[in-house]
């Protein structure tokens, strides 16, 4: 257990230490059968249910994406790569991809950096430790739908809290929806509000596994606290940082509910689609209007590809920039 504190990097966890041989000497047949097959029986429900409702739909998306498949007109014809070709020419698709990427960058980068700082602050001896930890993670228990509604009002154009605050210090109000960048910022702010503390706790879990004497010898050598943070803490929790980046990439690219609620529950994402994300556009194409399942599936699959590409890019970037220790 102690070796797996924090977010467990999958690769390391994949090889379980050999468990001691213990079950022998069952003589009667039922016992033998029990020993041999019940393990498979116990893990089977996961594989069956995940296979049917998790993996199969994701793979089947590829198949559906090759069809001109619409609910209302009743068409279902093989179309090859036609959907993908149309997508490449679809300005609204590129717009949605642009928005998704922008909101992703704007939310993930500050989120993980602040989470790292926050974890570093939490990683000391202090009074009211549990209370302070609860304080930073409480946004995570609120529902995305509720968060969207609340922040839509905080960032309201005319009477919103933020514009009111800006007004009191003499700034002009900001058009939080009409301005593309401002809308991205507001949506990214929601995401960060909800996830920063959560990621901080994951980092904290990893930080607590670092032996404290490393720091003591470093400070004897005269390394500043800041220096210790960058050259001891960050490299040693690198697997956890990589893990959170991958997970944030997967989640961030699928962002749907925040921008939906921010735009009063409409999938169009603003009058000019200025904050419509890919997931929203997929929804718009698939579950409203003509219900173009094929087209939506093609888009889903492209989004899947984007997630893989960006997860890999981020992985490599962070691996390079955060130097690991010798081990």
């Amino acid at each position: 257990m102690s070796s797996t504190v924090g977010a467990v990097p999958p690769s390391r966890a994949a090889s379980p230490p050999p468990s001691a041989p213990l079950h022998r000497r069952r003589s009667y047949r039922l016992g033998r059968w029990d020993l041999k097959y019940s393990p498979y029986l116990y893990v089977a429900p996961f594989f069956v249910l995940f296979g049917v409702f998790g993996l199969f739909p994701v793979l089947y998306t590829v198949y559906v994406s090759l069809f001109d498949y619409e609910l209302l007109s009743g068409t279902k014809e093989y179309a090859g790569l036609e959907n993908y070709r149309l997508l490449m020419q679809d300005a609204q698709f590129w717009n949605a991809a642009y928005n998704t990427l922008g909101i992703f960058l704007l939310s993930t980068v500050p989120q993980l950096i602040v989470a790292l700082m926050l974890a570093n602050l939490l990683n000391r001896q202090m009074k009211a430790r549990t209370l302070l930890r609860m304080g930073v993670v409480i946004p995570n228990i609120t529902s995305v739908a509720a968060v969207g509604i609340i922040f839509a009002l905080i960032f309201a154009d005319r009477y919103g809290l933020i514009n009111w605050l800006l007004g009191t210090v003499g700034f002009d109000p900001i058009a939080w929806r009409d301005n593309r960048f401002a809308s991205w910022f507001a949506i990214a702010f929601m995401v960060d509000w909800r996830w920063t503390g959560y990621n901080a706790l994951i980092y904290l879990g990893a930080m607590q596994a670092i032996p404290k004497d490393l720091y003591e010898s470093a400070s004897l050598d005269g390394a500043s606290t800041w220096r210790q943070f960058w050259s001891i803490t960050v490299p040693l929790i690198r697997p956890t940082i990589l893990f959170t980046i991958i997970i944030s990439t997967i989640g961030g690219f699928q962002i749907f509910t925040e921008p939906l609620m921010y735009g009063n529950g409409l999938v169009r994402g603003g009058v000019d689609h200025q904050f419509q994300t890919l997931a929203m556009y997929i929804y718009e194409k698939t579950f409203t209007g003509n219900a173009e399942y094929g087209y939506g599936s093609a888009m889903s699959w492209l989004l899947f590809m984007m997630i893989i590409v960006f997860a890999l890019i981020n992985f490599v970037l962070v691996r390079r920039s955060v130097k690991g220790d010798k081990k």
Binding site: A146, Q208, S248, G251, S300
Partner: protein, 302 residues
């Protein structure tokens, strides 16, 4: 309660002897004592975290004419607003709450059951291919299943499940993260001798699971249950796709409220968000320590 306290063992800092000796003498040891500035920063962070929630409760207690009034001070209309919100038949809020409670409970029990069963098998039973199977389970945690919603939806249409609760329950009955978490806990919490002893007493594998393993896994199961319950309660996209306004979950009800009441009855809408958040807030306040422990163990974002 006493059993649940034992779980976050790796949450409380692992005993590091050198810290005891060093404190007070070495300058570096100072690092581990929180400074007033640290407290200040953390308290500020906490205020920033809690403020939007409190603020939404404040709006929920006001009259519509006072929604935009600053500074944020509570009004006295909370219960009137709740009444009016509940009376909104389109949103069917109470029905949404009940549905969410049913869905979250069933999913939670199922995830705990299947996860502990498989986790036990991976941690304590020997079988061919177990390493490969475990690797597959870990990889499933990385699959963005949301991207399969279109075929999943077509499947639900095929089964005739659209608009029914099983559509939002059955696809979530198992969870890779849960299996992995239970396996990790079972490795450390259950000794091989205990299982061997049970076998010698003539217990079948199922009996061992039910009478020995499951009770020993209770602390981890509690954490998994809390995380699963909260996650299911907050689920939005899939219920929004597959359910109909006649059978909403609470998040769906909120969505209906927000499209219907936007700019007309703000305070009722906020009464809705308050009521949808309250159950989880209560759970969080009671089990905060366990939930934090679970997240620090490496919970996975949905």
């Amino acid at each position: 309660m006493t059993t649940t306290q034992t779980l976050p063992r790796s949450v409380t800092p692992p005993p590091v002897p050198s810290r005891r000796h060093g404190r007070g003498r070495l300058p570096g040891a100072q690092l581990w004592q929180a400074s007033p500035l640290t407290y200040l920063a953390l308290i500020l962070g906490g205020v920033l975290s809690i403020f939007p929630i409190i603020w939404s409760f404040i709006i929920a207690s006001r009259d519509n004419s006072a929604v935009y009034e600053m500074p944020p001070t509570p009004g006295d209309q909370l219960f009137t607003n709740i009444d009016r919100m509940l009376a909104n038949e389109d949103a069917a809020f109470i029905y949404g709450l009940v549905n969410s409670a049913v869905v979250s409970t069933v999913v939670t029990i199922s995830v705990i059951f299947f996860s502990s069963l498989a986790g036990f098998a991976f941690a304590k039973l020997r079988f061919r291919g177990s390493n490969a199977l475990l690797l597959i389970i870990i990889m499933t945690m990385m699959v963005p299943t949301q991207l399969g919603v279109i075929p999943l939806y077509l499947m639900m249409v095929e089964l005739g499940w659209t608009g029914t609760l099983q559509a939002v329950i059955v696809p979530f009955l198992v969870q890779g993260f849960g299996v992995f978490m239970m396996r990790q806990y079972a490795m450390s919490a259950i000794s091989d001798e205990l299982i061997e002893a049970a076998r010698l007493d003539g217990c079948s594998t199922w009996r061992i699971y039910w009478n020995v393993v499951l009770p020993a896994l209770r602390p981890a199961a509690a954490v998994l249950g809390l995380l699963t319950f909260m996650q299911t309660w907050n689920e939005f996209l899939w219920p929004f796709i597959v359910l109909t306004p006649d059978t909403p979950t609470v998040q769906y009800s909120l969505k209906i409220l927000s499209s219907g009441l936007y700019q007309t009855d703000y305070v009722a809408l906020f009464a809705g968000t308050a009521l949808a958040t309250l159950p989880l807030l209560i759970v969080f306040i009671i089990f905060g320590r366990q939930i934090i422990g679970g997240i620090m163990e490496g919970a996975v974002k949905s």
